[in-house]
Symmetry: C2
Subunit: 336 residues, 2 copies
DNA sequence: TTGTATGCGTTATCAC
DNA sequence: GTGATAACGCATACAA
């Protein structure tokens, strides 16, 4: 590792010497709201500008016991929806004077490892962004009581005492089913992804539940190997291949947009069915491409700005840290 | 900001007291390859485990003048291709014992601001990941000579003395044009995105150049408003609307896959043309969805693992820091 | 308002 | 191999 020894950064001490004051006065000049005369401040700032001084945030962190860094754990980079959320997250963190450490959770760097590392780096908080992390490992002896505050974003929390910020699945599915029912659909099907995530299970469960409330007890279930267009295509192909046209669902809800894209391609391309006339499609997430003419996918948008705002408020401590469920919004397009 | 005062972390000093040694011995126990007896090390490790001690990386950074943190500047979250690169980048950084600080460059937080901030945080390096940042601002007085080493990833460097790691555009376009020529296409068209980025211009320029080498001097140029499917669709719609079938290109290369998706949808959906029989399509980036049955898009894949490896090697100083151009790979599918 | 002493937790360097 | 001294750059508490 090349160290940063090109040109030493100026320190408060040096600025103090140049300005003819003590280094503590320099600190004050850079501390908003501290008592210092205009004159002193002006001289300090002048000297600072000349020496190109700016406070060393590392040293400040050590002294204040607060790094203003937040570790963000991500373990599913395959989901393109992560990107806009990361954008929102970094933007709002930065606006709050915080900065994101992006941690890739994978086979070589698991949650426990990452948590230990983030802890050593003294981060002010850890955001589990849609990662599958359960309680068990946390009770290990190796993890002390000194862990940074943790928060779960966009997934249910499976850890005792760790709050989550999620989109209201019940409301979402209620809106979706109501919409489909009003449109006249009566034979629903649901395609789920591979995982047994509680968030995913909940969508399926509410889907079933709300159809039942309408008196529709028969729901077909499809499942895809993973969250990819190809997997969605394969899943729907299997379904359509073994299902007589008369028995076929008239609307298929996919657990996310990516699955829906694959399903739509297959339905139109391979089976020559019209969407939504012969089978309607619903996705989840409102991924950008769904708005294009080709897909025009009815979907549900999670309130990512509000979710991020909520989690940051908890981190800052401006609101109590407790699980929050926020309403999203149904986006109706031509696929239903 | 809630500080981390729940339970104070154990320090080397406390571990030393518990183990009956000096704190420097504790440090040695945690420093691979330092001279310490097995017995001392064992006792230290025992005490450390009991007290749940682990070294404070913040304090270490201050003392060693090396944070092992790398700031990654991103200003275009709309491009979904950023995500897999971020995955690769974080994975390899972590494998090298480094960690990524993800910085969102936007209207509220520009490059200069971000650079100053990263500098204050004492990052070991800054990666400009596909951001549009030019030299001018850098010569400002406000930016000292103390800036961290900078590197540009996936775009040409426009800053004097700052190396870049890019995909070889010349080779890429040569491969693409050769492939198209062999397939028998003779009427090429090129769709560019909105920006006047040198990387983008270069693709267009080489595209033209290599067709000229084949004796084909006529190339149609389309331009999209931005890098979105919708913009690609609009662009190709305008083109096809004003171009007689006889004058139409027989192959359209789009500057990236997203534009290509939009173009393909429009070409098939609105104009009822067959791909590739009536018009072939080429993209760039090998975005995942392009592999799906519906698109099956011929495209070009940037060598992201090698690119990331190269930039990290420069950061670590294991290779000289200089601009590197790496070969990607043509991915041939059914759209050509 | 300003200056002084002390602490944050670690590493580097030198004696022993 | 081990302990001690100094230093990293800043913040807090207190005295002037």
């Amino acid at each position: 590792m090349r160290k940063r020894e090109t040109v030493k950064r100026a320190t408060a001490k040096e600025v103090a010497a140049a300005a003819g004051v003590s280094k503590w006065t320099v600190i004050r000049a850079f501390t908003p709201g501290s008592s210092i005369t205009e004159e002193s401040k002006r001289r300090v700032m002048e000297a600072a500008a000349a020496l190109n001084y700016s406070p060393n945030l590392l040293a400040r962190s050590l002294a204040t016991n607060s790094t203003r860094q937040v570790a963000v754990f991500v373990d599913d980079f395959a989901n393109p929806q992560k990107l806009p959320v990361l954008e929102t997250l970094t933007e709002q963190l930065q606006a709050a004077g915080l900065v994101a450490m992006l941690i890739n959770i994978n086979n070589h760097f698991d949650h426990v490892h990452a948590l230990l590392h983030a802890d050593q780096r003294q981060v002010d908080a850890v955001i589990l962004f849609g990662t599958a992390f359960r309680d068990e490992t946390l009770t290990d002896r190796q993890l002390g009581h000194t862990l940074p505050p943790m928060f779960v974003l966009a997934r249910d929390s499976q850890i005792e005492g760790v709050p989550a910020v999620v989109c209201d699945a019940e409301l979402a599915l209620r809106d979706i089913v109501n919409h489909l029912y009003e449109k006249g659909y009566r034979r629903p099907a649901f395609m789920s992804g591979a995982t047994a995530l509680s968030t995913a299970l909940r969508r399926k469960q509410h889907f079933t539940e709300f159809w039942a409330e309408k008196g529709i007890e028969v729901v077909d279930y499809l499942s895809a190997e993973k969250y990819s267009a190809e997997a969605g295509a394969i899943s729907v192909r299997n379904y359509l291949s073994v299902t007589a046209a008369a028995d076929r669902a008239d609307v298929l809800m996919c657990e996310n947009d990516i699955l829906a894209f694959g399903a739509m391609d297959e339905i139109r391309g391979k089976f020559g069915l019209r969407i939504p006339e012969e089978i309607a499609i619903v996705g989840f997430d409102n991924y950008e491409l769904g708005g294009s003419h080709a897909y025009s996918l009815t979907t549900y948008e999670q309130p990512r700005h509000e979710m991020v705002r909520a989690i940051i408020a908890m981190i800052l401590g401006t609101v109590e840290a407790e699980t929050v469920t926020l309403p999203g919004k149904l986006v109706i397009r031509n696929s239903t």
